[in-house]
Structure formats: C-alpha cells, structure tokens
Symmetry: C2
Amino acid sequence: MQTRQVDVAIIGAGTAGMGAYRAALAHTRSVVVVESGPYGTTCARVGCMPSKLLIAAAEAAHAAAHAGPFGIRVPSVTIDGAAVMQRVRSERDRFVGFVTDTVDQWPAEHRLRGRAHFVDEHTLQVDGADGALQLEARRIVIAAGSHPQVPPAWRDAVGERLIVSDDVFGWTTLPASVAVLGAGVIALELAQALHRLGVRVRMYARGNRVGPLTDPVLQVRSRQTFDQVMPLTLNASDLQLRREGDQVIVQSGADEQRFDWVLAAAGRRPNVDALQLHNTRLPLDAQGVPLFNRRSAQVGDSHVFIAGDASDELALLHEAADEGRIAGDNAGRFPDVRVRPRRAPLAVVFSDPQIMIAGQSHAQLVAEGVDFETGEVSFTDQGRSRVMLKNQGALHVYAERSSGRFLGAEMLGPAAEHIGHLLAWSVQRGDTVQQMLDSPFYHPVIEEGLRTALRNLQRALRMGPPPIERCLDCGPGA
Amino acid sequence: MQTRQVDVAIIGAGTAGMGAYRAALAHTRSVVVVESGPYGTTCARVGCMPSKLLIAAAEAAHAAAHAGPFGIRVPSVTIDGAAVMQRVRSERDRFVGFVTDTVDQWPAEHRLRGRAHFVDEHTLQVDGADGALQLEARRIVIAAGSHPQVPPAWRDAVGERLIVSDDVFGWTTLPASVAVLGAGVIALELAQALHRLGVRVRMYARGNRVGPLTDPVLQVRSRQTFDQVMPLTLNASDLQLRREGDQVIVQSGADEQRFDWVLAAAGRRPNVDALQLHNTRLPLDAQGVPLFNRRSAQVGDSHVFIAGDASDELALLHEAADEGRIAGDNAGRFPDVRVRPRRAPLAVVFSDPQIMIAGQSHAQLVAEGVDFETGEVSFTDQGRSRVMLKNQGALHVYAERSSGRFLGAEMLGPAAEHIGHLLAWSVQRGDTVQQMLDSPFYHPVIEEGLRTALRNLQRALRMGPPPIERCLDCGPGA
C-alpha cells in the first residue's frame, strides 16, 4: 500500500475541516484534508441554508394568506411546489458553489478523496477510488461531521418511504403528505415550513416536549403554541410504522394516519463509527465519541483534535467554524497547544414564533445550582408585536441574585434571532441588568418587551413589588 | 383673575410631561400639569404608533404582491382602504386609551386644562374654558411638544387640500392620490406606506437628500434606492402649488401633476411661540427655543426645565421619556439640580429598506474632527438577506483609529431596527471593534453582514489589505 507522511491530516472538508485547514496552514504547508463525500458543507448542502430558503417560501405563503386582518384582500394563494423547490435548490447550489470554489483553489496535494479510518494513533488508511493509501500524520484533526440518526426499526418497517432532512432538499416538488417524527429543532423548522406550504403534515413527539426550551414555563408555552399552529401528536412513544403500497401508516395509540413519506428527525449522530477509533488509545465516551477540551479541541493529551458536529457538542455552524480554527491552529502548533476563549452561547430556531436560548439556559442554571432570579414578559400585548400581529410568545431573562449580572435568557416570540444576539452579546460582556436597562430602547420596537422583562428582573432582584411599569405609548406588554 | 401657587408647573401632558409629572411627584405633591389639547401623546395619537400600524398594512400588501419569486402564486391583492384605516384607527385608539387611562388616574388638582403662557419667570397665565387662571410656580417644566411645520404659502395656495401627517390618521379610507412634500423621516415612512397601499404617491424633495443618513456614500445609496421603490422628484426647490377644484396641481420645473391631497411633511416645529417666552429673561436660540443643558434639562441656570419635542433636540419618544424624567426630577429637587447620563444615540426609520443611525453619525464624527476609520458591507449578496429577498442596502461602521473603539454606524438595509440596538448598546458600553468580533454571530443571520463590516473596519484600522474574508456558507456578502 502506498504511504504518505504529513504534519497535519484533517478528516472532513466541512465547515470545521475547512476552518482547521486554514488555521493549520499558518504553521505548516504539509497539510492534507481527507473527504469521502461531496464537497460543500452540511450547512450549505442540507442544513442552515436550504432550510432557511424553504422557510422563506413558507413565510411568504403564510403572510399572503394572513393579510386579511390588515385590510388586505387576498382571495387565493397557490403554492407552486415545483417553483418553491426550484428556488430552494438553485439558491442552495449557489451557496454550495462558494464552498466548492474555495476547496477547488486548494493545492491538489492538500486534497485527498476517500474514506479514512484509524490504523493507530498516527496512521490513517484512506480508501479511495484508486485503491488504499496509508497516511502517516504527526497530528490529526477529526472533523468528520454528522449524519441524521434513523432507528433501524423504522427503516425496516417502511423502506425508502422513510426520509431524512437531507432528502427534503433534493425534492423537485412538494409531496402531498409527510409525517415528521421528532420535535427537535430540525423537526420543528421543517414540519412548520411544509405545513405552511400546503403539505399535509403531522409532527409526532415521543414525549411532550416541543423544541429546545428548558424553562418549564416556556416549554409548556412552546408546546401549546405549536399545537395550535400545526397538527401535533404528543407522547407518541408507542409509535408504529407500517408500509402500505407507496404509503406509510403511522399508528400512535388508537390513532392511525396515512402519509406519503415519513421524515425521521430524531437528531444527528457524529460520524465517528467508521473511524475505527478502537484502533487507538484515545479516550472515548459511552457513545464512542472522543473526549476533548472544548477550549483547545484537544482529545485527551494527545496529538488528535476534534471539531464540529463530530464532537457531538454543539451542532451549530458558528461553533463548528470556531472549533475548526482552534483545532487546526493547535494541530499546527502542537505540542504548544493553546486554549482559546469561546463565545457566549446562542441557539436559534427559525420557527414562527422563533425560539432562542442566549447565554446559560434555565436547565444549566439549575444544574449548576446558581442562585438566580427570573424576569418575564409576554408578547401577547407587547405594542409593536401587536401592531405587526406577531404578538405570540414570551421571554424569560435570568440574572445572578448576588451580583445582578445577566446570565442568560430563553424566548419564544417575534424577532428572537435578533433579541438573541443583543442578549448573547450582553452575556459575553458580563453586563449587569442595570447596564442593560441604561442602554437605548427605541420605540416602538420588540426590544421594548425585553426592557419590560429586564425591569421585572431588576424588581425581582430587589425583592420588590410585582411589576406595574410599562411603556406608556405601546400597551401593557411593552 | 384667580391665582394659584404650586411648587412645580408642567406645561404639556405628553410623553415628556407625563414623565416629568411622575418624577416631580417624588419630591412634592404640589404639582400641576397644564394641557391645552387632547390627552394622549403625540407618539400614540399621531406619531409612532399609527404610522407603524399603517406601515404594517403596507408591508402585508407588499409581501402578498411579491410572493411570486418564492414560488407562491397570488393572482390578486386588493387594498380595502376602509378596512386598513379601520384597523389603524381602532388600534391607535387602544394605545391612546392606555395614556388617557393613566392621566385620568391623576388627582383632579394635578390636572389643569387650558393654554399656558409666561407672564414672567414664575407666573403662567392659563386660559381655559371657564376663564383665565394665574399660576405662580416655583419651578416650571416646558414639555409643550411640537406641531407639523407648514409654509404659509402652501396653505394659501391650496387651502384645506393641504394636510399634515396628523390628518392621515383621521382618514376613514385611503385617497386616490397624495403628493408628499418633504423627504425626511415622516415623509419617507408615510409616502412609501401609502404607495404600497395603492395610493398614487409622489414624494417631492427640495434637494437631493432622501432620509436622514449623513454618510455621503449611504446618502447616495438611499436616494437611488427610494427612487426605485416609489415615484420621487428630487431638487424640487422651485415647487409651485395650485388649487384646481378639489384637486391640487404640483408643478416642479416643466412637470405638472395632479393630486387629491398635498401632505406637507417639512418637519415639526416646537410649540414655544404661544408660550410668550419674551416675557421672561430665559436664554433663547435664534428660533426662540430655550437654551438648555441636555444632561440636566435646565434652561440656563434658571428654575425652568425643558423636555421632549419642545426642546427641538431629538424628537424621539425614548429621548422625550428620559428628558421628561430628568426635567421633572430636577424641577422637583431644584435648586439641587443633578446631571444625568444620557443613552447612546439611536434613530430608526421604518421604511423598506429600513434606515438607522447608531452612536455618532458620520457627520458628527467629521464635524468633531474625530480620526476614525470606516468598515463597509453591502447587503446585496448577504446570505440571509438574499434568502429572504431583503438583500438591499449597505452598512457603514465607524471606529476611532487610535483606540479601535467603536463609535457609531449608519445603515440602509434589512432589520436595521435590530442591528441598530445591537450597535447602540456597543457604543453605550464603549466596546472595541475586537470585542464585538469576539461576540457570537449566529448563522444564517443578517448580523453576519455586520460581522463582515466589522472585519473590514478592523482591517482598515490595521491599514491591512483589502477585505477577502467572508462567511463560507452564506455568500460573499455575509
């Protein structure tokens, strides 16, 4: 078998791998990136971008169909499924093109096509189209990404009628009906988008949680909200799938429903199994995922680093990009490994209403035994939200009782992606609630709802009376 | 004439006056608020709220009519003018109700109806329905608000066919055509909203400036953008108005056009003339507006304070509320006057694309001779903006060369109201550009466009090479 030596081998040419490549190059030209699948990141190919394109079409359809209350008459709204998917795929291909253009500019000797697995800590075997290659690497970055998880029983029961999120973006038109199995971020975004695009959708949740919010009050509100905006079956732990011709019968309790497709949205699994990590002495967790330091990306005290979805930590693009840079830089400079600061946490779901968690979640605060207070606001009567008929949801903000320092927030409501940035930046800086209240709040804006929550939080920190303050010009909620 | 003594007299029961009342009460119960017009603030009655309601309807109509590119077929969109104005007025009345409810709860002896003018520094004459009253006040807060400015020549030329922004919100249906004279914030918001609601509109700008942006590059972009989205006549300094029956002929150069109404949107003038300030020795500017300290609201070193639109400084609700609190507190505690911190500046125009100025404007930086650098981004190719077909406009961010401290920004583009808060909060805290770049940017979001501008700014501060960095997964602009 042919053998090749390199300073740094990077497994995976996705967001994390590409970031690792750029960072490693600053230390050595002896770098190779091994990719077994198509170039183009998960985000651009089957993740963030195509899902936002589908959601943009869904919001256009929803807005047109709900203009009535504003005095705008729209007698008919028709979804041209072929046209919807045409835009989703062509724009998606454009975004993917930016990625592949970048990879194409890499020197040929830095690119290697094939499936890699560990022979030992320093040796990778890469099985490519023209045979196997032995890669001896002084340092290795695992950026192998993730894949949608599919319970084998489901696959056995319905065969190719079972699809995953990746498959949706290959559609050339919209199907008549889809059962969405799962109630996580991907399930929520796709189920609501397809529902708004006229597809008969039902979302099946194993338990009674809908979406990622951990604050008990907001989790209940999330469940109630999405139960109103789309067909939803909760506590479907007894789910039975049955194939009938080209259709699938989904049975939960006594209820049976028929769909063209079953979309398995049970989360994603890191691509570590094929790496044969058992051939190494790297420390692994129960799921076989390497144990690593999130500030250095280093696996144990080894010369191996891990980044992106493969680490099974935060499957978010902006985190994968950071992790890639950290892993690539440390692989390049090894053994002089450095720890890097990480950003304040921010997670967003592009549903309607949107969902966001900024800083520490309610669950994390409770788990860490932090002594914190909560400030709340409902958007039901918030001035600007009501003006735009986006007055749904609520926001909870959390602060440390002893210091008044802002710690985090959870939200279901309008413009959560923007409020999330405002709050995550405040967490990043260690703002106190008072510093935030001293900052400008324009009028009339959704941020005034945040101000109400912060005022209530400040009052709670002072153990003061129940909230009465409100924006005089924009209703009790604002 | 009946005479009455009070500690604090407040002229005006609007946003500033109500804030001043609450603050003064903390020091004395001997407070009276004099109001000559209807209760309910300018913001709620004829400002922020009804304009945002009209804009919400306009955006609903625009969205329905432009769903095609997403693959959504909407054969017809009809504007029900009566229904549009019905919602605008009923929701407006609801917001006004919150204000009047608050005033109704004030003790009767704290409320005085009538028109006030100064007899001397300590004496106000209030002419009410049942005669005149002499009010001897130890301290006085001027919170008399403002009114739309109308060149008398225009009024003479077209009589009652000339309307101001206040009149629009009294409409029970939409007119066929309106000439909007002016290109400032109010003109821009109303002209575009009416245009999108099917009213034949033309906006006439005296010069070639459209909107408030002071950055020369962005001002040009603003003019070009709005010239494309609605009928616009620039450099109409020679404007001639002529009445013909129930219509108005608007002549600019050789061009003549016929409209049902002429909307004078030439800005607002503080309500100071009727106060007969010449009976006092208060220091006044050339426009007859009292000279004051914006951190104490104090007029000269006197016992008179001024707040809100009457001060002719920042006719913005959130500033008026702050100024009212500061003026009322200082009027209450006089002579122990205190200076209060003011918030970082933030101004937003709710046009499409939106406009915002956060922190110091380009013009202020130049006028103050600040040594600053500029970072730029265009939203034309910004990933998420393009996904939503909101990819219009640009953002300029400014930082001090010596310190790298972020100073301000001007923007024409999507979600400017939210980006504006993020940036104004950074100015408030004195963030450096690097601190901002270290903060989280989710994906795919419009904030990634801000990140590109900040990276370019950081590069300019370092005198580095031209920008090449971009978000791999969301296009060159992101």
